[in-house]
Symmetry: C2
Subunit: 419 residues, 2 copies
């Protein structure tokens, strides 16, 4: 198989992850020693760097620096959410010709695979020989054809650690804690809140994902049930939860209260508003119920209730899951090998061989199989009530996030008895 | 020096930290081998466990379990914010007598040292021989007589890591990021956001602490200045910021918009509202300014702006600073030794010998020196403009948080030049 002589370009798009640098560093490490590859360029800010001819020389960086960069969260090649228009696709082809770029590797979500597919068709039309590869990436884990996507496991590790910490914290005083996790349409990251549970009684006790309609009254009753059992309740909620008619829950809870800003925007995500509104709602509900129960005693019970929004730290916390890092670096190398072995295009995906011992393999799948589609949490990973994950999810998720610092628990069966 | 024969009790109070278990485990490890100490009890839920005679047998736990618990965030002895009344102090003394408890160790903030001081006085009045020790604890780091308090360094490590991650994330798209940190009256934890900076251009670019009056207009101008320099701006703000008249900033920003809930409470902290209000304010300000500048071109610029509230995860994230853990365990042991050496009471404090190499020592200080007072960030740790920390703060804080995962940066002086 003859390798076309020319330059290669790598770029990254969309929301970064803790390991996205490892995707393109993997590609580069595999290509820098191939004699036919005359140069390896990093396009800055995704496809915008192609349009502006803004390329970093990646071969000149040296291996040691590249490895250090691969250990660093967010993308050193910067990002964009720019979707190219037709004339921009033509412009990019001109740039590829001008620089003799023959290999293109884009790390991103399904938007990126769609863009690559469009450029691919344009190149074929013009008879310009181009090899285009998509390296999957997203903390949401919502790409088709992937068991899980690079970046998910590190974000999941953070979410699991955050919840096992706040669950211990919540035990100290009792009461309610609610944390809102990323994932507009897919519940994988919210579900990861359950991966750090230390005992059968550990939180999160309730997990709500966007794959199931969210019912505010049912949610309040669910919390009440857990609270009566444990004197406390820890809840994980996806930012994307909607009611059965597809109306965002924040919109329902803030009827008439959410002002548009001076630019006319009503922001429904990327703020702390959902956590605040949900915890307010359930705190008031449960306080009223508790006081109705204890009315005869004439005491008014105060309920401790706290809400947090995990925010951007989920995708950028500098603590890569070891599996995520190794797989992502290797997946980048695999993409480069696929190109060197004469494949024309495709998306490289991680597929699972077994849970225990954990084993995965890489596959080249068609760009169109990934483009423009959303993958959801499988039905078997959500319980019948739609308020928790199942053991099947735990088995699936645990190998991905790596070892967590072990917790020690006090043996409270050993109490002091006064003789 | 004769050691009084009897039992010892340890308890924890107030908001937990990532190392608070190490405080009391240190005490227990030192006491379990002293023949005169007939039993070591853990009071559950702070002084409430004394009032309810709810004691865990800590000697029965074994050293291995105790060490594992000391590695676990939040307090396994649970907590309370209950301030004892006079009759409760008398009741506690009765319980101490009933169980022949002669040694009391309380880990907590200045409320706890105040409580211990009051019990102390009551015991003296009644001629009951009691030894009372306070082991400092608080992520806020606001206790007098301490260079830093157990728990601060681990929370600071988390905040530093969170900001160095989101700072890399913010670079990818540019725009504004604002994170609100814990610390109602003291800015130590917010200041820790600067401890993970990787380069002179790294964020947070602005740091606002409660020790300085916060001016909303000045804040907007500060952000504008940084944005014009870097095309982006990362800001850390303390939840406790107030204007020059002591009015909370959230109250100023939400004039007329903040409804009391059905129970009549207007919540000013423990919600995402401050981050949301500040980022809205500065986004609108800067968008208007940018569009005024570019009006001639007839283009409306959109500004990316995100706000997060770091929340309860700050104090419970399961990643102890090594210095924090070792010091806290040793400080607990020191408190126990102080008791065995015949001291009557006091608070054990960490004092610093030198920054580099980092060295600290422990001192026994009077309970009254710590009780009911708040320590603030020293003037020398805040810059003249009141919008950043100084190098003096960085030198002070760096040794506390431990090594962070190293970051690698791309060399963008090595660009591809088309010949």
């Amino acid at each position: 198989m003859k390798i076309i002589q020319g330059n290669a370009v790598v770029f990254t798009q969309g929301g970064p992850t803790a390991v996205i640098n490892a995707s393109w560093v993997g590609v580069v490490l595999e290509l820098i020693n191939v004699p036919e590859i005359t140069g390896v360029y990093g396009s800055l800010n995704g496809i915008d760097g192609v349009l502006n001819e803004n390329f970093v020389d990646l071969r000149a960086q040296g291996e040691e620096r590249l490895i250090a960069v691969s250990r660093t969260p967010a993308t050193a090649l910067l990002s964009t959410r720019h979707k190219p228009k037709d004339e921009e696709n033509r412009k990019m082809l001109e740039v590829f010709k001008k620089y003799n770029i023959r290999y293109v590797f884009g790390a991103g979500g399904n938007d990126t695979s769609e863009s690559l597919d469009i450029i691919n068709d344009a190149a074929k039309d013009q008879g310009y020989e181009l090899r285009l590869f998509h390296v999957a990436k997203t903390v949401d884990n919502d790409l088709m054809e992937n068991d899980h996507t690079p970046g998910y496991a590190s974000a999941a590790r953070y979410v699991a650690n955050a919840f096992r910490g706040v669950d211990m914290d919540n035990q100290c005083f009792g009461g309610l804690y609610l944390g809102v996790c990323m994932g507009r349409h897919a519940g994988f990251l919210t579900a990861a809140s359950a991966l750090g549970r230390t005992t059968p009684e550990s939180g999160p006790h309730l997990v709500y994902v966007p794959e199931r309609a969210f019912n505010i009254d049912q949610f309040c009753q669910d919390v009440e049930t857990v609270y009566h059992k444990y004197g406390r309740c820890v809840v994980a909620v996806s930012e994307g939860v909607e009611d059965k008619n597809g109306v965002p829950i924040l919109q329902l809870l803030s009827e008439g209260k959410l002002d548009a800003d001076s630019h006319g925007n009503v922001q429904l995500s990327g703020t702390g508003a959902l956590a605040d509104a949900l915890i307010d709602k359930v705190k008031n509900y449960l306080t009223d119920r508790l006081n109705a129960h204890s009315k005869e005693k004439g005491v008014s019970k105060k309920l401790r209730a706290r809400g947090d929004t995990l925010g951007y730290i989920q995708r950028s916390f500098p603590d890569q899951s070891p599996v995520d890092y190794e797989e992502t670096l290797s997946l980048g190398k695999f993409a480069a090998r696929m190109a060197m072995e004469g494949n024309i295009d495709g998306s490289v995906a991680i597929q699972r061989i077994s849970d225990s011992p954990y084993q995965s393999e890489f596959k080249l799948v068609p760009l169109k199989a990934v483009a423009g589609k959303t993958r959801h949490l499988p039905d078997g990973h959500i319980n019948a009530e739609g308020n928790n994950v199942t053991e099947a999810f735990i088995r699936w998720g645990k190998p991905l996030i790596g070892e967590l610092n072990p917790f020690g628990l006090l043996d409270t069966t050993k109490m002091v008895i006064k003789k």
